[in-house]
């Protein structure tokens, strides 16, 4: 469908000291679609997300937003573009209530005074638009919420700002069956509302249930970007665990690859 990706990464490299975590990674997120980002533990998924949101600075590569090259140096920059991230380690303050968390860092004000009625109304409307009915009061402390409710608040916080791209890092990892279903439904609804959604998940059923495209990271390299309808569970699992599946994925590790590691070495 949509020709231009909302968010496109090209040739992203990222190292932590001597350890290169991302190698020449490319990836695209299209409006109205859910792109599943999969990969084994330590493949670099969270690192890639943090590069997009400006928590980490990339060593090389370009980020295109709506076809334009952008530089993102902080979560604020990302938010200004319309990129919102729901982090793996839920970034909510336990000691604040739902409204306070949803508006943290972007409080609505009248003059210099916090505009609580407006913030409550916007929070209520956003939660309603996501068909969230499980929270009792908007003034409940986040500490008192269940995992699923916290996740809901984190997602609601991300969509509050007419954002264009929402990236969710393992949003269902800590959830039970019912709450997982709820969150996935929410994820699907975001895409159906025209947003570009990237979903990180280890659960193949989840990926196939909700995504339009799959991007598989293998040891910091993008093994393949495919349409979900074009691949099987087994193929995706192979991409995750081995980096390739049939003619999909990274080229087989031939002698030339080893030559990189052992210049002049014998095999």
């Amino acid at each position: 469908m949509a020709a231009t990706p909302l968010l496109e990464l090209r040739g992203i490299d990222k190292s932590f000291g001597p350890v290169q975590v991302l190698h020449d990674v490319g990836m695209s997120v299209y409006p109205g679609e859910v792109t599943a980002l999969v990969g084994d533990n330590g493949a670099g998924k969270s690192t890639l997300v943090k590069c997009i949101s400006g928590i980490y600075t990339i060593d090389a590569g370009t980020v295109l937003f709506d076809g334009r090259t952008v530089t993102v140096n902080s979560p604020r920059d990302a938010a200004d573009l319309g990129i919102e991230v729901v982090y793996q380690d839920l970034a909510l303050c336990d000691n604040l209530d739902i409204v306070q968390n949803m508006f943290l860092g972007r409080e609505q004000k009248r003059g210099i005074v916090l505009d609580e009625p407006t913030m409550e109304q916007m929070a209520a409307e956003t939660l309603a638009s996501l068909s969230v009915r499980t929270v009792k009061s908007l003034r409940q402390l986040v500490a008192s919420l269940s995992g699923g409710q916290r996740q809901t608040v984190a997602i609601a916080k991300a969509v509050l700002w007419n954002s264009k791209v929402v990236i969710l890092d393992e949003p269902t990892a800590a959830l039970g069956v019912a709450q997982t279903a709820q969150v996935l439904e929410l994820v699907r609804r975001l895409a159906d509302n025209g947003l570009g959604v990237a979903l990180i998940s280890h659960n193949m059923n989840e990926v196939f249930a909700v995504s339009d495209r799959i991007a598989a990271l293998y040891l910091g390299r993008m093994a393949a970007e495919v349409k979900t309808s074009d691949v099987t569970h087994a193929q995706v699992v192979e991409l995750i665990t081995g980096g390739r599946s049939g003619n999909l994925g990274l080229p087989p590790e031939g002698p030339t690859d080893f030559a990189d590691f052992m210049p002049g070495g014998q095999l």
Partner: protein
């Protein structure tokens, strides 16, 4: 769906403006004062209450900033040393024939305090070492600095330039000591700021989860820096109160142990030592309670160590209550 939304807006349940702890503190203070009034009839007279308020002021004033620091999850144990530096510096500037005026003395003291606070703030906000370690280090540094400025044992012949903040008739308007009045106003402004501005809310967010606050776009380092600079500034003003309360001689014990008095007031006032929750109003009441106990023990002719015992008990009760509240919140 809109009906639900509207119903919630109408309910508007912002957390109550006063905490349970504050109501309890007011109750305890009232009972204590009543008991003291019965046992020592002189207690409830201006001659007894006025000095009590004057003595409460410096601790409560520094307590306002300490409350904010502790809300962010930090602490500042260097305020005693900082008071020493500001006091001796200001006292020295006041003495002599060409001693400075009231306004200059206050500005000097505040500037010195602000600078010391800046040192703490930069190290804590950008140094990634816990505040207690940093301020423990700077506390010793400040004391060393203070002693060097003292040079000899004492500063003598301090004129009454700062009488406006003192115990005498010049230090009162309508019977209320200026030092206490100023403290009251600053407490009220801080209370309003913490509750009704984005900046105030960010202090709480940082104490709740600094990482989450940063991801949400809060400028964490800048906020933390501000908290310690504010502490220094209020230490500077409080040092003027301290000089004004004293005699014409300032000795090297000035400021000593004040950090503990301030932290005690903050904790008794209901601020969580773990960060993320607290109230400057509680701190003011905490400081008033501690001072009332000290003054009551003196007036009853009891040994002064008993005052420390009571303060110790208050701290334990306050911390215990905080732990119970935290547990209750989690299990709700």
């Amino acid at each position: 769906m809109t009906a639900v939304a509207e119903a919630k807006i109408k309910r508007r349940v912002l957390p109550s403006p006063v905490t349970g702890q504050e109501i309890v503190l007011v109750g305890v203070i009232v009972v204590l004062w009543a008991a003291l009034a019965v046992s020592t009839p002189a207690f409830l007279t201006a001659g007894s209450i006025q000095p009590l308020l004057v003595a409460t002021a410096p601790v409560a004033l520094v307590g306002v900033a300490m409350t904010i620091v502790i809300i962010t999850g930090g602490i500042d144990v260097s305020v005693g040393g900082a008071i020493m530096v500001c006091s001796v510096l200001t006292a020295k500037a006041l003495v002599g024939t060409d001693g400075v005026s009231l306004g200059v003395a206050v500005l000097l003291s505040i500037a010195a305090g602000g600078l010391l606070g800046l040192v703490n703030g930069v190290l804590i906000a950008y140094g990634r070492v816990h505040a207690i370690i940093i301020t423990f280090g700077t506390a010793n540094l400040f004391m060393f600095l203070g002693l060097r400025i003292f040079g000899s044992g004492t500063v003598n012949g301090i004129p009454a330039t700062l009488a406006f903040f003192g115990r005498g008739p010049d230090g009162r308007t309508l019977g209320i000591p200026h030092a206490f009045l100023i403290t009251l106003v600053i407490t009220a402004v801080a209370w309003w700021y913490l509750r009704h501005t984005a900046g105030g809310r960010h202090f709480f967010a940082i104490g709740g989860d600094a990482q989450a606050a940063r991801l949400a776009g809060v400028r964490v380092q800048r906020r933390v820096l501000l908290a310690y600079v504010l502490t220094g500034v209020l230490v500077g003003l409080a040092s003027c109160f301290v000089i004004a309360q004293g005699t014409s001689t300032l000795d090297q014990s000035v400021g000593s142990g004040k950090e503990l008095a301030v932290i005690a007031a903050v904790v008794i006032g209901g601020t969580s030592i773990m960060g993320g929750r607290g109230s400057v109003l509680g701190t003011l009441l905490g400081a008033l309670l501690v001072q009332s106990v000290a003054s009551g023990v003196t007036q009853l002719g009891w040994r002064s160590q008993l005052s420390d015992l009571f303060v110790g008990i208050f701290i334990i009760v306050a911390v215990g209550a905080d732990l119970l509240r935290a547990r209750a919140r989690r299990s709700r």
